[in-house]
């Protein structure tokens, strides 16, 4: 009986056995599930780290800037540019990269390092001596040697951000000074090198704190846990998520070395905001907050960045310097307590003031050009590629020209509104607009593009998309079409008359009512006479018939010549073509017109408008390299002839006010005003640069008296005067096929020595007059005799 009492009853044993089996089964099931889960997590980690860890926005850069001894410069534009390149006024001789010191006569710069496949700049200190807005000398202060040609790095213009709007650069933890890493460890995880992903004490403390608070409040995260959270988990605070975080941390520690974990962490974490853009990773943070590489940070700067990790915006040195300084000092003290700083180092670092790099939010540069560029890039790359793969896109934009063009347009439009108050509109979307295109005519490089007055108010790119009537700005192409049969001295009728098109009258008027009834081709273009231009275009149709009503201009040979020129110059690739287009009635975009004018400035070759130079991938491989592409359209002689004719426009014609505006160097150009005064144009060029200015209302409202000469031309003059580096004062080289003759202005024949009004005129070879003036006969035989002796006896 007693024995029976000591032995557990059979049912109890069964229950115990069942319990044990159930427990074992449960344990096995849990273990198996945990194992499967860990394998899955491990696979997930592998997958995540095998692919691209971060998205890198592609960057758009301007062209490089050349500085050379003897160059004329606009000092203020140059200093502004240096500021945009990230050079900060130091107030002393620059002691580190990114610093500059400017005075009226000297600019000292400590150049950044910059590497690209086509441009390498090694950091060095240079001194630029200036005199009268001219570069007098450039010296390498490190070597003392003169630099004849200095190329400044390209300027970052824009980034193609993805949805997260984040900019990031990567660093190698192995290249960082130990104190940078120690600062981060002191701030976030001083036992990093001792634990295996998490610290039990920290987890228990967090659990207790959370139980007391009735929910997850405290993280107690190690660096590994933070990494696990950032890469694999959502921000929600639950116990299951916390458990998952622990498991992933353990796996990360199992899979990666401590240095690798630290490196990924330093490259991953969020370091505050730069305007609307997030700063990711320590390299980007070091560049933004201190304008230097992370490897160059001082102890105090490293501690500042480390201090910000917990709450980057709360501890921002810009937004909350006191809180930032306090926490930085806590980090420094912690570093000392861990034995990572000596007492002296601590004292020095604590005494260092918080001094972040000056930050001024930049306006978006060349926004209309960026839209134009993006449209081209989207033909090459997907949006995802542009926002994630960190391409570097090097463009042709010269930011000094761009800034000058924008300023000139702003000033010019304001001036017009002041001059003609009726043109002022209160609604920003309806205000007077303008566009500027600046190109290098020989290569087709687009140096600047302003597509409107205010990108914020209107993103419509008038430079590339606005179809506007060119008016008289089209005339040079009409005159070009007649050069095979006419010369600059050919007389054109300018008498008012009614032309007929398909039996219907086409009333053509000159702008000036007292225009001469007859004038030379050169003068007709210079003064932009409409009637003379129509007569020139259709001269062979009229012939000697006094009754021009008999001529159907729509089928006249003259129109075909103009159409052929239009097609060749890519002005109008297809119809409809009609006679009034010779006076610029057919619409065109400013960029197309600017490009076509380049042909005159480029010895007869039409350049392709080039905006992208190189596209480079993140590892430095060149994906795309574009060059100037030229296409011969007309002979160099004809191009020279057109430039010479358009020089008269500036010297004696509708654009002669350029000289009053301070443009005292040779320029070829053409004004344009449409008949109904909806558009004002000026296209002007030299061998060095071509710029087009358009002014008008988007809805085609009348701009009254604001003609091309009054509205667009002053903007052009203002722009060019701001760019002395593009003003050489040189004129075009006379090509073969051009000959010069002295002409009697009265008879239009070769002048004799007795002609009272003579002029030097150029002709295409073989087209000059061959007969001598018969209108003026020398009357003095003695004079003739003496002239004859002069020829026979040199020195007589």
């Amino acid at each position: 009986m007693k024995k029976k009492q000591k032995e557990p009853s059979r049912p109890k044993r069964r229950i115990w056995r069942k319990f044990t089996v159930a427990f074992l089964l449960f344990f096995i099931a849990v273990s198996a599930t945990a194992a499967v889960y860990m394998v899955l997590l491990s696979h997930k980690i592998d997958q995540r780290f095998a692919g691209r860890l971060w998205d890198f926005p592609s960057k758009v850069y301007s062209d490089t800037t050349l500085l050379y001894t003897g160059e004329r410069i606009n000092r203020s534009l140059l200093v502004e540019k240096l500021g945009r390149l990230g050079y900060r006024e130091a107030g002393h001789i620059p002691g580190r990269q990114g610093e500059m010191q400017t005075s009226a006569r000297v600019i000292n710069i400590y150049l950044h390092d910059f590497q690209s496949p086509t441009f390498n700049q090694q950091s060095k200190r240079v001194r630029i001596d200036l005199r009268d807005n001219q570069v007098e000398d450039i010296t390498n202060l490190d070597t003392g040697k003169t630099i004849s040609l200095l190329e400044l790095e390209p300027e970052e213009l824009m980034l193609y951000y993805g949805p997260n709007r984040e900019r990031r650069r990567l660093l190698s933890a192995r290249k960082l000074p130990p104190y940078v890493i120690h600062a981060v460890l002191a701030a976030e995880d001083h036992a990093f090198y001792q634990h295996h992903g998490f610290v039990i004490k920290g987890v228990l403390r967090a659990i207790v704190a959370n139980l007391r608070a009735g929910g997850i409040r405290q993280g107690g995260s190690t660096i590994t846990q933070q990494l696990a959270k950032n890469f694999f988990l959502t921000p929600e605070r639950t116990y299951s998520r916390k458990l998952k975080e622990l498991l992933i941390s353990v796996l990360l520690e199992f899979k990666f070395s401590k240095t690798d974990i630290l490196e990924i962490y330093l490259n991953e974490i969020y370091w505050g905001q730069r305007g609307s853009v997030a700063i990711g990773g320590m390299a980007e943070a070091a560049r933004f907050y201190f304008d230097k590489e992370a490897s160059e940070l001082t102890v105090a700067e490293a501690a500042t960045l480390a201090a910000m990790i917990r709450a980057p915006n709360l501890y921002s040195p810009y937004k909350n310097p006191d809180a930032c300084l306090k926490r930085r000092n806590t980090v420094l003290t912690s570093m000392f307590q861990e034995g990572w700083l000596t007492e002296d180092e601590l004292k020095t670092a604590l005494a260092t003031p918080l001094k972040p790099a000056p930050y001024t939010p930049k306006d978006r540069q060349a926004p209309y050009f960026m839209d134009y560029l993006t449209a081209q890039l989207m033909e090459l790359y997907s949006k995802e590629t542009l926002t994630t793969e960190g391409l570097s896109i090097y463009t042709t934009i010269d930011t000094q020209v761009q800034a000058a063009a924008k300023d000139a347009l702003d000033r010019g439009l304001t001036r017009i509104e002041t001059l003609y108050p009726a043109l002022k509109r209160s609604d920003p979307e309806k205000q007077l607009q303008g566009a500027v295109v600046v190109m290098q005519p020989k290569t087709g490089y687009v140096l600047a593009m302003v597509g409107g007055r205010d990108y914020g108010a209107s993103q419509y790119n008038r430079a590339t998309d606005a179809m506007r009537q060119p008016g008289s700005a089209f005339k040079p192409f009409v005159y070009l079409s007649a050069l095979d049969s006419l010369t600059p001295i050919s007389k054109l009728s300018n008498t008012p008359r009614t032309f007929m098109i398909d039996g219907k009258p086409w009333p053509v008027k000159n702008f000036e009512e007292d225009a001469p009834e007859e004038l030379t081709l050169r003068d007709a273009l210079a003064k932009s006479e409409n009637i003379a231009t129509v007569n020139l275009a259709f001269a062979d149709s009229f012939g000697s018939s006094p009754n021009i009503a008999d001529v159907n201009l729509a089928t006249a040979p003259g129109l075909k010549r103009v159409v052929d020129i239009s097609k060749a110059f890519h002005l109008y690739p297809s119809g409809p073509f009609y006679p009034s287009m010779v006076l610029g009635s057919r619409e065109i975009t400013p960029l197309t017109l600017a490009r076509a004018y380049c042909t005159f400035a480029a010895d007869g070759v039409l350049p392709f408008p080039l905006s992208i130079k190189d596209v480079v991938d993140k590892s430095g491989g060149v994906l795309e390299s574009r060059h100037a592409r030229i296409e011969r359209l007309i002979s160099p002689a004809k191009a020279y002839m057109m430039s010479d004719l358009m020089r008269s426009v500036v010297e004696i014609g509708t654009a002669r006010s350029l000289s009053y505006l301070g443009v005292d160097w040779p320029v070829a150009g053409k004004t344009g005003t449409t008949n109904d005064s909806r558009d004002a144009w000026f296209v002007g060029y030299t061998p060095d640069i071509l710029a087009l200015v358009w002014v008008g209302f988007d809805d085609g409202e009348n701009i009254d008296h604001a003609t091309g000469a009054r509205a667009a031309l002053p903007i052009w003059a203002d722009l060019m005067k701001s760019l002395p580096q593009y003003v050489s004062g040189e004129w075009f080289v006379k090509p073969p096929g051009i000959e010069t003759r002295t002409i009697c202005k009265d008879s239009g024949m070769l002048a004799n020595k007795c002609c009272p009004n003579t002029t030097e005129e150029i002709f295409l070879t073989g087209t000059a007059p061959t007969k001598t003036c018969t209108m003026h006969v020398c009357s003095s035989p003695i004079l003739n005799f003496l002239e004859g002796v002069k020829k026979i006896v040199p020195g007589f």
Binding site: T64, L66, Y68, T69, G70, E71, T118, S148, L149, Q440, P441, K442, T443, Y445, D603, V605, K613, D614, V622, S625, H627, A628, R629, I630, E631, R632, P636, P687, D688, S728, E730, W731, V733, K734, P735, P736, I738, E739, T740, R741, T742, L750, A751, N752, K753, E760, T772, C773, C778, P781, N784, F785, E787, G788, V789
Partner: protein
């Protein structure tokens, strides 16, 4: 004797007067050489003569005769420096980089014929006959009064014309 001599002088004067009555009109010679300074002979090219002849020569055969360079002004000097850099790139067969450097040089100093000459050379080596021919033509415009350069340009033109046209 004396009256005959007098007649002779009078006859000469009459002939002169008749001749002077038909004085030809004033025709101005081509003013190109006056409008623009002549391209003076400048220091020889900075690039050393090639010791290893590439399969296709970068410069025309007359390596021993150094071609003259253009008149120095600040822009021209800076442009020539870029041109010299480009010549090295061409020799290293880095043609895309050479073309971009030469385009920079053209933008800096559009009047320099040397840049067009080397652009023609780079495009020729890239196998683009059309672009090479255009740049050769542009170089010729600028060196039309320079016999040494014109000889080089004509040699280059012959090489370009002998190329097989490439798409």
């Amino acid at each position: 004797m004396f009256p005959d001599f007098k007649k002779f002088i009078t006859g000469c004067l009459l002939l002169l007067l008749i001749g002077c009555a038909g004085v030809k009109p004033i025709t101005t010679p081509e003013s190109s050489s006056q409008a623009l300074p002549p391209e003076t002979t400048l220091p020889p090219e900075t690039t050393a003569p090639e010791t290893q002849q590439p399969s296709e020569p970068v410069t025309p055969p007359s390596e021993t005769t150094q071609a003259p360079r253009e008149a120095p002004n600040p822009r021209a000097i800076a442009s020539l420096e870029l041109s010299s850099q480009a010549q090295i790139l061409i020799k290293e067969n880095k043609l895309d980089e050479a073309i971009q450097t030469l385009e920079q040089a053209v933008n800096l100093h559009p009047g320099s014929g040397e840049n067009y000459y080397y652009l023609a050379e780079a495009w020729r080596l890239k196998g683009n006959q059309a672009q090479a021919a255009e740049y050769n033509n542009l170089a010729a415009i600028r060196f039309k009064n320079d016999s040494e350069w014109m000889r080089r340009i004509n040699d280059q033109k012959n090489r370009i014309e002998s190329m097989k046209s490439q798409p």
